[in-house]
Amino acid sequence: MSLFWQVDFPALLAAGLASGLCALLGNFLVLRRESLLGDAIAHAVLPGIVGGFMLAGALAASAMLAGALAAALIAAGAIQVVRRLGRIEPGAAMGAVFTVMFAAGVFMLEQAAARNLHIDADCVLYGQLEDILWLDAPDISALPREVWTLAGVFAAAAAAVLLLAKEIRLAVFDPAFAAALGFRPGLIHLGLVLFVAAAAIASFEAVGSILVIAMLICPPAAARLMTDNYRTQILLSIALGTGSAFAGYGLAGFAPALLGASWSLNAAGCIAVVSGLAVAAAALFGPRRLSFASAAASLGRG
């Protein structure tokens, strides 16, 4: 089997799935003005991942997933407590909670390294797409574990969004009305937090947990600046996300080659930069980029 199928294809698959998944979930964060919650969860899951890893003794996906979910729940709960009791603005409350949890995670990473349990800080900070290989191509069952995890979480998220489409739409745009009608917008919010945590852990081996933030927010933000339609925004953001994944991966691998070099750039970083460029383009040229106030102002002037 050619090198493309063994090396590039699984990486592209993982990157594409991770980006699409994060883009899908990120829409609800951006629309609810909770983008920093994505930042917070992506950082806060670290102690959960390392804890699960240390308890299970190996890269046991289910132990790390359980740890990540627990950490996300603890973080979400702690943020609420800090906001209510301390009368502290949401951003600072999130910042206080997730930095302490991330520091705890870094501390635990050091302890794990001391016991020769090797989980890389690098992996967490910028992912390792290069390590996602399909050596036994074309045997589908031999696809790397990361791809299966991502596919699973993506399928679950897509199913949840489709099944609960109306409830989610209501909870996102008018939670008070949803509560008055007897729906439980709080549960939907909780579900969103858990899915973001699952996406973060599924993606961290592909693109690293900090780059997950870029993929959560940039594609939906770019889509938001291009359309007013809710469904169009969601579909467009997934397309932009996966597009950034392919373009970024290509850039990382082939741009240096074009300049005559034999090495490649960090793929996850390139993917995030491409998605950032998409936001920049949308901010400059997107048909719906203006806020109501600035649009009105420009109409008045023109």
Partner: protein
């Protein structure tokens, strides 16, 4: 463990070596400055802007490293690196500001975008630098999670002086910034340059962030600016209280964390400092007398108990604890008990007749109703 305890005591009393002592003192100065700036950032609701600055410093660090190498500088050239960091850090913050102002994206989305994209650009540049023949770029990676131990005494001293200068500048602007945080319209009316003050505050935030990069790392440096201020907020609601408590917590936490990291090999510096500050934060969250979790739980339990006691008294029955409150003696309600029942009945009336006037902040059924609610009830006589 006694060995570790002794080592910590040594470090805390400046007996663990000159270098360690200077680094610890430098961390304390940094913590103090970060606490001070952070207090104003918190009150201005701009705490997360510092996160954007922190992550956005990465590309600047790498570019400065390349530039320093190209200009033939040997070694690490900390001031050059920090200058590069400051440049892209401020650019990142400006990008977030531009996105907020010119598009319909909300400020939180703009910060998240700037933070993650600049950081990613830094990672890409880092991956390129790692292929260049010049060695020692491993030092660059220490900026991500911090490594105060790598600071020389001279560097630590320089950072400490810069931090104290920042604190001094903040004190000079104390009153205008305070007015800005609590009454922006008044500040504008008095002719203070609001935009300029905001820019100065954010600039000081960026400065402290850059100074903290080496010890705490760019991912965690925002914690220095947020944790002490948030902890202080649990203890005080006045500007001076929040400010000085924040300065104290920042200095103390950073000092403690740096000491712990210097003697325990398996304690990474940035994480140790943040965890020490986190301990202060957690202690404040739990134990603060008015806003802490314990105080809140006690308050709720007491209020619930009192409501049940008043209800029982209203029905002519006794209730365990009514004697303790001074509401019942010898099987009959006292004057204070009768007053408590009267208050409860007023709340019941308010709920039935003027529910919109029910105050949200008071203890239901226990606290006296405010004058507006009473006036409304008076007008709507049954």
């Amino acid at each position: 463990m006694t060995g570790a305890g002794d080592g910590l005591l040594e470090a805390l009393t400046f007996q663990a070596g000159y270098n360690t002592g200077v680094v610890m003192a430098g961390s304390a100065a940094l913590g103090a400055a970060a606490g001070g700036v952070g207090a104003f950032l918190l009150l201005r609701a701009r705490a997360m802007a510092a996160d954007a600055v922190g992550h956005a410093t990465l590309p600047g660090l790498v570019l400065a490293f390349i530039a320093a190498g190209a200009l033939g500088a040997e070694g690490r050239a900390l001031p050059v690196l920090l200058a590069g960091a400051a440049l892209t850090g401020i650019l990142g913050m400006a990008a977030a500001e531009a996105l907020t102002r010119r598009t319909r994206l909300a400020p939180d989305a703009a910060i998240a975008i700037a933070l993650s994209v600049f950081y990613a650009a830094g990672i890409v540049l880092l991956s390129w630098v790692q292929t260049l023949p010049a060695g020692s770029q491993g030092g660059l990676e220490s900026f991500i999670l911090g490594q105060a131990a790598a600071l020389s005494a001279a560097e630590a001293l320089g950072l400490a002086v810069a931090a104290l200068l920042a604190l001094g500048l903040l004190l000079a602007l104390f009153r205008p910034l305070g007015l800005l945080c609590f009454d922006e319209h008044h500040a504008r009316a008095r002719g203070w340059p609001v935009a300029g003050l905001d820019a100065a505050l954010l600039g000081l935030g960026a400065l402290v962030t850059v100074l903290g990069l080496q010890s705490v790392g760019l991912v965690l440096v925002v914690a220095l600016l947020i944790l002490p201020a948030v902890a202080a907020r649990f203890w005080s609601k006045r500007l001076a209280g929040i400010f000085w408590l924040s300065v104290g917590f920042g200095a103390g936490g950073a000092f403690l964390g740096a000491a712990a990291s210097s003697i325990w090999l398996r304690a990474p510096t940035g994480a140790s400092i943040v965890l020490a500050l986190g301990l202060v934060f957690a202690a404040s969250l739990l134990a603060a007398p008015r806003r802490g979790i314990v105080a809140e739980a006690v308050r709720r339990a007491r209020a619930g108990w009192q409501v049940r006691a008043a209800r029982a008294l209203q029905a002519g029955r006794g209730y365990p604890g009514a004697g303790l409150f001074g509401w019942r003696r010898g099987g009959r309600p006292t004057a204070r008990g009768a007053a408590a029942v009267a208050r409860l009945e007023l709340w019941d009336r308010c709920l039935a007749e003027a529910p919109e006037a029910l105050p949200a902040e008071l203890a239901w059924g226990i606290d006296p109703l405010p004058a507006e609610a009473l006036a409304l009830l008076g007008k709507r006589a049954p």
